[in-house]
């Protein structure tokens, strides 16, 4: 075991996978110089862990700024024998390649009756909460959830980052990984041995009996704080981190709600048609009889992200807004409702 940061764990998974399989290559802008910190030991080219040194330029491919071309080329390469990992840096750049994601990456295997397989991973970071303004701050995973044929992971801890990425790279299907910059620095003990966290299996972050709190990506740490607050108030919160958004571990969520009868969903994406909407709808259909209270979503509002720090901080779920939602569904109070109103 080693103490690894979230970012370090991603680097470790990439290194393991590249060592294990020659067909794994990395494609992306500025990957050669390790600008985003997952293709090197340190920030220097000469440092030991540097991927370009280790694997050579044939496998570490620095690209032009051509997201659409890169994503499509990675798809074509995946269809013909390689297993590319594409570093798209920020999630906000995925839109440039949307046609390739939807019309080629997601559809080709199906349209061609199974002739194609598409073992490719697309990584990107959701750069929200860092005062970079509306262009860099997107958390667009919900729109990709609406596209059949993609798998989607959103790890919230270093261990999951490592283990899910290994599974993603080993998957013969295309996987999008949404990483939250706010988690980059998070540290924990992670095994140095290879391990795989299976796609489609949720993590119960914390067990509880009174209310189920499904939390996604950067909302997980806030959820943990909120649950601790509630515990002090005598309310027992079960936190579930789906980790994989597609395929979603429906059973884990349904089982928990069957136990608690109450559900809050927290995520950093915009509200309308978000993952929280899907999870809420799932439960309203499949676990209706267990439900004792309204299902409350704690999300970013349907608003773009303002730059000013004084404005941005109110845009994402926090310990406070999640706490308010938990209080509301476990015994609604006027204060909790007012706090939520502000947030959504």
């Amino acid at each position: 075991m080693t103490v690894m940061s979230y970012l370090g764990a991603i680097g470790a998974a990439q290194r393991e996978a590249m060592d294990a399989d020659e067909r794994v290559i990395i494609i992306g802008e500025d990957v050669e110089a390790n600008v985003y910190g997952t293709t090197g030991g340190g920030k220097s080219r000469s440092s030991e862990g540097d991927f370009t040194q280790r694997y050579g330029k044939n496998r570490i491919r620095n690209t032009p700024i051509s997201e659409e071309g890169i994503v499509g080329a990675a798809a074509g390469a995946a269809m013909t024998g390689l297993r590319p990992i594409v570093d798209l840096s920020y999630s906000s750049f995925l839109y440039m390649a949307m046609d390739q994601f939807v019309n080629q990456v997601a559809k080709n295997r199906y349209m061609f009756g199974g002739q194609a397989s598409m073992p490719v991973v697309f990584r990107s970071a959701m750069f929200y909460g860092l005062n970079t303004g509306a262009h860099h701050s997107d958390r667009p995973y919900p729109m990709f959830m609406n596209v059949p044929g993609l798998k989607i992971i959103a790890p919230s801890s270093p261990s999951d980052a490592k283990g899910l990425l290994r599974s993603a790279i080993d998957s013969d299907d295309p996987v999008l990984s949404f990483e939250a910059c706010l988690l980059w620095g998070t540290k924990e003990e992670v095994s140095d041995e290879p391990f795989w966290v299976p796609l489609g299996v949720a993590r119960t972050v914390r067990e509880g009996t009174d209310v189920t709190l499904v939390a996604i990506s950067g909302s997980v740490p806030e959820a943990i704080l909120a649950a601790a607050d509630l515990e002090a108030e005598g309310i027992s919160v079960e936190i579930i981190d789906p980790r994989t958004l597609v395929p979603l571990d429906r059973n884990a969520i349904l089982r928990s709600v069957a136990k608690t009868g109450r559900l809050v969903v927290a995520e950093p994406a915009h509200r309308t048609c978000g993952a929280a909407a899907e999870i809420s709808a799932l439960v309203a259909e499949e676990a209706f009889d267990s439900l004792l209270a309204p299902i409350v979503r704690v999300t970013a509002p349907d608003m773009q992200i303002p730059f000013s720090p004084s404005l941005e901080k109110q845009m994402y779920p926090t310990r406070e807004t999640i706490g308010a939602a938990l209080r509301l569904v476990t015994g609604a109070t006027g204060v909790a409702r007012a706090a939520l109103k502000l947030a959504n």
Partner: protein, 327 residues
């Protein structure tokens, strides 16, 4: 063409004929409702298609577009599963899930046609990348139209292929129209000239009805690619004889009668037949070939007719490789 044997020359004619007869039949079947949706024929463009595919090796890759039957046929794909695919049968090359717009036959290097204009160009680029990384000597060719030549992804792909010296051919099928839109009204500059700015040869085959002229240009590009010298852009000027798609009826004034007559007078299959006869091939042999190809198309239709439609549940296969998580 010193590198083409007399057998090769006959095979070229046979493939052009296959495309012509297959597409003629498909056109009829659309009009009679035997093929659902629509199809886009390559009739009139056979020289451009076969001149290109014949310059590739068997293991080479290609991607295509909505004008989609000629490419796999040109690359040697058997007709039965293609026809069954058009009809939506279980024995179709894509199990009936692709249809005309999305033919793919990986057994001949056909990585897929695309209903989205321009969208498959980077797929071929990626195949060229595999070839380079795995060092397996394969070349990849992307077919796209004059209309698609205005999609930005083409230039991203050309730049990427040029920067990485990928073994790749960008093959523009300039049939001078994108649906109702004349290329010259929406194209600034000359497509082939765009190669230079992206660091690659840009070759314009003015007489795209001459299959050997197309072959020569694409062969040069393929040799260059295989030698490690990087990609080429080849623009072939040609003409489609039919409407944009079968069954579509547009105001006729976007293409005029003289223009059509002129191009019809230079039918690529007739031209090459004459050429073969001039070089000593007997008319009887060519007539026999025509009959054989017609029989092949008949057999393809019979194969399709005899095939079942897919089971309902087939719709729920093949999205992912691990079935249990599908839907």
């Amino acid at each position: 063409m010193t590198d083409l044997s007399s057998n090769d020359l006959l095979e070229i004619q046979r493939r052009m004929l296959r495309i012509r007869r297959f597409d003629e039949r498909a056109s009829k079947m659309v009009k009679r409702g035997h093929i659902p949706g629509t199809v886009h024929t390559s009739i009139g463009q056979e020289a451009q298609v076969v001149g290109s595919t014949f310059a590739l090796a068997d293991g080479d890759y290609m991607s295509g577009n909505h004008r989609s039957h000629g490419h796999p046929i040109g690359k040697g794909s058997p007709l039965g599963p293609l026809m069954a695919e058009l009809v939506g049968k279980a024995t179709g090359v894509c199990k009936g899930k692709g249809g005309s717009l999305h033919l793919a036959d990986f057994s001949v290097g056909s990585l897929g046609e695309s209903g989205i204009v321009g969208s498959s160009i980077p797929i071929a680029t990626g195949a060229a990348l595999s070839s380079k990384v795995l060092d397996n000597g394969k070349v990849a060719l992307a077919f796209f139209g004059d209309g698609a030549a205005n999609q930005g992804v083409l230039y991203e792909s050309m730049n990427l292929a040029g920067s990485w010296k990928l073994p790749m051919i960008f093959l523009c099928e300039n049939n001078q129209y994108a649906l109702s839109t004349p290329a010259h009204t929406v194209t600034s500059g000359v497509i082939a000239d765009r190669g230079a700015g992206f660091g690659m040869p840009g070759i314009r085959v003015e007489n795209g009805q001459d299959v050997l002229a197309v072959y020569a240009a694409v062969k040069t590009a393929a040799d260059r690619a295989r030698a490690g010298d990087g990609p080429s852009l080849v623009e072939v000027v040609t003409y489609r004889y039919n409407e944009h798609s079968e069954g579509l009826r547009l105001a006729t004034d976007y293409r005029n009668a003289e223009e059509r007559a002129d191009w019809l007078s230079r039918d690529p299959i007739v031209l090459f037949r004459n050429h073969l006869i001039e070089t000593g091939v007997s008319a009887e042999l060519l007539d026999q070939m025509e009959a054989d190809v017609l029989a092949e198309v008949d057999a393809a239709v019979a194969f399709s007719d005899a095939s079942p439609y897919p089971e309902l549940s087939v719709a729920f296969d093949d999205l992912y490789t691990d079935k249990e998580i599908s839907a």
